[in-house]
Amino acid sequence: MHISEGVLAAPVLLVGAALGLAGTAVGLKKLDYDRIPQVALLAAASFVASFIHVPIGPASVHLVLNGILGVMLGWVAFPAILISLFPQAIMFQFGGLTVLGVTTCNMALPAVLGYYAFSAGIRSPKPFVSGLCSFLCGFVAILLSSLAVAGCLVLTGGSFWAGAKMIVLAHIPVMFIEGFITLGCVRFLKKVKPEMLEVVYARP
């Protein structure tokens, strides 16, 4: 999901930075001081979990988990995703400072959309509805994120079409895996710690 530095065109970078800034500002405004440790640790946990490599056939993919983060955090997903990208940006230089805004948007916007689309369904007591919504939440988050990455590339120049298509196609298996993982994860949370899905992290 990371685009390297120096690839994207200036307008794309600027719009990304502006949207990222706005989203983060909304998220921070909705975040109470008391919730800071919780949100920070959930971000850290999803960062650690994103190092898990899940096998698919002979290859393996790593998890992204922006869908489940979005359902729990709502708009606060923006600052949460930003801080989990930040160490990568400054320490690993996977997408450094200039693309930070774009990458944050690419991952956090689908998370927030997922929150509005699926959070009611996921919290439903009916196992089928909840299961379907959790699967879709994970699936759609990756679908939208990969489309967003592809969109950024295509907006930079027509010559990126081929690459953009490849990125979306390559993420299709990831979509299914994230769907299953989100499904299992929500079932686990509902059984073990139902409060986690009921806590309101963001002020309305």
């Binding site: 640790l41 096998p55 998890l63 801080i83 690459g163 710690k193």
Partner: protein, 247 residues
């Protein structure tokens, strides 16, 4: 996951005020990412190379890092030379390689590596928390800084928990494969990590309350901008401009 791989060192770059370095790094990456000329990009590449040399970073580790982060750039080489319109210089079967495409791919490669090197030389040479501390001085909101601070502090702890869990999976002879059992197991692993982090965050909040936390952190180490920091930062602002605009 090697965080802060380049942060320990004794060069003068390591001792500069992180605020100056953040400003210079942000300015340099912004400027370079905007340039469209290959000569300007090449000229700009000179600066970070000098910085890396001054910082006396371990060459082998630096190359390993560059190889890893150039994955995306390598990916662009697979299609840009073919899809960027221009003069055909060579054909492989049905595919034509265009001269302008090659130049464009070169431009992306040079720009990308110039920025990566500058970030490694400037931000990588300070501990992460110092960089964040610098950011808080440069106007990044407190809440964001606190979020980052807790996230970073517990990254190690959560990673250890993850290792313990995956060892527990291993000793019970779990073999990952492409099947539902694997996905369910990983889902539970992720869920368990989230639950444990949630529990821990509640106890941290309690610890904060026990010690009279009132929403404010006090900083005991203070950096001071010295003459060399002002000098360095001004050079960091002026030199890239000269290189990029003159060429």
């Amino acid at each position: 996951m090697k965080l802060e791989e380049f942060a320990t060192g004794n060069s003068f770059i390591h001792h500069l005020d992180p605020r100056g370095k953040v400003v210079a790094a942000a300015f340099f990456s912004g400027l370079v990412s905007l340039t469209q000329s290959l000569t300007a990009a090449l000229a700009a590449l000179v600066l970070p190379v000098i910085l890396v040399a001054l910082a006396r970073l371990d060459f082998k580790r630096l190359m390993t890092r560059l190889a890893v982060v150039n994955g995306f750039i390598l990916f662009t080489w697979f299609f840009i030379p073919f899809t960027f319109p221009g003069r055909v210089i060579y054909s492989i079967g049905p595919l034509d390689i265009h001269w302008e495409g090659v130049l464009y791919a070169c431009l992306l490669t040079v720009k990308s590596n110039a920025i990566i090197l500058a970030l490694i030389a400037l931000l990588g040479t300070s501990p992460v928390l110092d960089v964040v501390h610098a950011l808080s001085h440069l106007g990044v909101p407190d809440k964001l800084v606190h979020l980052f601070f807790f996230c970073f502090r517990y990254l190690h702890t959560i990673r250890e928990e993850y290792h313990k869990l995956s060892e527990a999976l291993k000793v019970r002879s779990f073999r990952p494969g492409t099947n539902l059992h694997t996905y369910r197991t990983y889902a539970y692993l992720v869920g368990m990590l989230l639950v444990r982090s949630f529990h821990r965050s509640q106890r941290i909040l309690e610890a904060l309350k026990c010690r009279g936390f009132s929403g404010r952190f006090y900083i005991l180490h203070h950096y001071q901008m010295k003459r060399r920091d002002y000098l360095f930062t001004s050079c960091g602002l002026v030199l890239p401009c000269l290189l990029v605009f003159i060429l």
